[in-house]
């Protein structure tokens, strides 16, 4: 008797679930991203929540490390098999969507994605030929982030000017030893810190933000490179050569033993990644402090690179583009999603999510200080515009090899400057 009842009940539930799946199982979308563990964990939770709230849509996660991600995405693009929703670096737009036809136009989904949520200036950055190529994730800017330990030990204050930086480098070396440096920039940082100085001095960017060509003169570029060399020789930055010997010019700072041991005083970090910098420090986040942005007196720009780093795009081949749009909207504007993701995907660009995070104090204090610094610089008009092409992999390759050669003493700034300009213009003209 009892058995029969259970059996009937089971059959019933089975039938019900069968019918619901038959009727509802209409959309399965693929979502691809790269990022660290925290990002993966929180994103998977958001996916679960989304699936609960939208029965019938399943989201298949495809995540990987950065290197593999780009290689695979490009191959998929070639075959037209890219995921329905993908995380894309804004700097890839010139490659994937030169004329605004690489991704689905978000304007098509205006009923599903609330574009009003996003600041106009941010949307402009992701628009190519009038077509919105993706939904932005918050913008990030570079700033000076310090591990306070060596600074306290050497009793030095954080530098406010470049001269103070050189002075700090000298004192730190004298008081603590040859292994101690005020800043570990990674190679990208070396390029950006010295560029920041050059822009403060000449108020001109390396690549013209309005058209794809080099806007600095040969003398200005040479000066930029000379300053970089000076930063290295005066022990203000861990040199590219030193880093290479320690296991990689591009290896993240947090994986370097000297950072773990507190010998390196700081990093040039994006404000969105501040929290990850404490991962290998024994003192955790408490050990980090945001320093003043180092400036030349009377500079008209700070020269920090601040831009929308990441966007979510929809494949133009997607058969489930509406489900994809729904999902993006949930991810970028839903309050619940904001609470789960926190700052692990960078700071949100949408108004709703931003308010949730700030009102509910979901952003760690140091993160807030960093973001505020960039915002203040922006309000004072000190944040310059950068060309999208500046972060193009080919331009980066060129800059990297130039800086590497200078660091290794293979070439001089005077020799390298005209070559860099010529090559960069050649690359830019082809893009």
């Amino acid at each position: 008797m009892f058995k029969r009842k259970t059996l009937a009940a089971l059959t019933f539930t089975a039938l019900v679930s069968l019918t619901t799946t038959v009727f509802a199982e209409d959309a399965s979308i693929r979502f691809a991203w790269w990022g660290n563990e925290a990002r993966a964990a929180s994103t998977l939770k958001v996916i679960k929540l989304f699936e609960e709230k939208n029965p019938g849509i399943t989201v298949k996660a495809e995540y990987a490390g950065y290197d593999g991600y780009q290689a695979r995405l490009s191959t998929q693009f070639a075959g037209g098999t890219e995921p329905d929703v993908m995380q894309v670096l804004l700097a890839w737009l010139p490659m994937f969507s030169k004329k605004g036809d690489g991704f689905a136009d978000i304007n098509q989904f205006s009923s599903l994605i609330d574009l009003e949520e996003f600041p106009k200036t941010t949307l402009e950055q992701v628009t190519v030929d009038g077509k919105v190529q993706g939904v932005p994730i918050g913008s990030t800017g570079f700033l000076f982030l310090y591990n306070k330990e060596p600074w306290q030990k050497a009793q030095i204050a954080y530098p406010k000017t470049w001269d103070e930086l050189f002075e700090a480098a000298k004192l730190m070396r004298e008081r603590l030893g040859d292994d101690y440096y005020p800043l570990d920039p990674t190679t990208q940082g070396s390029i950006l810190i010295s560029l920041s100085w050059a822009m403060q001095k000449y108020n001109v960017n390396f690549i013209d933000p309005n058209e794809p060509k080099v806007s600095m003169t040969e003398e200005q570029v040479a000066d930029w490179l000379r300053f970089f060399k000076k930063l290295e020789t005066e022990h203000a930055l861990v040199s590219i050569e030193t880093r290479t010997a320690m296991g990689g010019a591009n290896k993240p700072t947090i994986q370097m033993p000297d950072w773990v041991e507190g010998k390196w005083g700081g990093v040039y970090s994006q404000d969105s990644t501040i929290t990850t910098r404490a991962d290998t420090l024994s003192g955790g986040l408490d050990q980090l402090e945001v320093g003043p942005y180092i400036m030349l007196p009377e500079a008209k720009t700070a020269g920090t690179m601040s831009r929308t780093g990441l966007i979510y795009s929809i494949s133009k081949h997607s058969k489930q583009s509406e489900a994809a749009a729904k999902f993006i909207n949930f991810l970028t504007t839903d309050p619940e999603a904001a609470r789960i993701v926190g700052a692990t995907r960078g700071l949100p660009a949408s108004k709703t999510q931003w308010d949730i995070l700030t009102n509910e104090k979901l952003i760690p204090p140091i993160q807030e200080i960093g973001t505020k610094q960039i915002m203040e610089l922006d309000e004072k008009g000190l944040v310059p515009r950068f060309s999208l092409y500046f972060e193009h992999p080919l331009i980066y390759k060129l800059l990297f090899s130039t800086f590497e050669e200078i660091s290794f003493g293979k070439t001089t700034p005077e020799e390298a400057a005209p070559k860099l300009i010529k090559e960069a213009n050649r690359v830019l003209s082809r893009l």
């Binding site: 780009q70 290689a71 490009s74 191959t75 693009f77 070639a78 490659m95 994937f96 690489g102 050569e241 030193t242 880093r243 290479t244 010997a245 320690m246 296991g247 990689g248 010019a249 591009n250 033993p257 992999p393 080919l394 390759k397 090899s401 590497e404 050669e405 290794f408 293979k410």
Partner: protein
Amino acid sequence: MYESKRLGYLFVLPFILGILAFNLFPFAASFALSFTDYPLIGSPTYIGLENYEKMVFDDDLFWKSMTVTVSFALIVVPARLAVALFIAQVLNFKLRGINFFRAAYYLPTILGGSIAISVMWKFLFQQKGLVNIILDTVGIDPIPWLASERYAVWTIVALNTWQFGAAMVIFLAALQGVPKSLYEAAEIDGASFWQQFRNVTLPIITPVIFFNMIMQIVHCFQEFNAPYMITEGGPLYSTYFMAIYIYEEAFKYFNMGYASALSWVLFFLIVSIAGGLFWSSKYWVFYSGEKERAR
């Protein structure tokens, strides 16, 4: 039976189909692509010989990469073969624990391709790594292995030589296959150890040397994992092997056309070296099967 042509064709049929579908067709496609500008996203445009012209006349990195690749092969192939043959020779003796040593030496070959090993290798050659500490104890100044244009490639060479096991096992098998009677005869003639090796061992194992040599050369020209993981092609492109250059052009910078042209040049280089070896094998490689038949 062996005269049955139909059976011969039947058995080789899967290969004919496979090679057409999975190799020759894509191969031809990439040959065609090498005459185009193909940004991967978008369609290819025919540009004639431009890729090849650019490579030869206007691409320092191509020449750099070529030099690096060829000199790497010139070092690694002999090094690996010499170590493998030497150890095989040492092992070819009535030894207790021979199985243990053989397995132990083979182990790195099994593990070498994995990512974990590359990570570890990087640790060994760091500024404060194991290698420098050992150098220090014998009174040699530490060498910035990974940051040195001159020495970085040696870390890759070392990793490759470390994996001599495959060649060694094959050598050892060959050495053990040399009939004892030949050595006894040589001994009666009063031949020294070296003379025995030179006049008895070497000629008999020539097919195995040939086989190992071809395999090592092919491997060397395709070396990718180690330089990609350990030195990232650097510093100053000193470990920027052709395989890395091609990979980056294709999947990082999206120049499929140029990458195809580069691969064709690499292919041509490997083919000519291997072709030269095959041609020369007539003069120094000696198959016992032929000998038996001749008898």
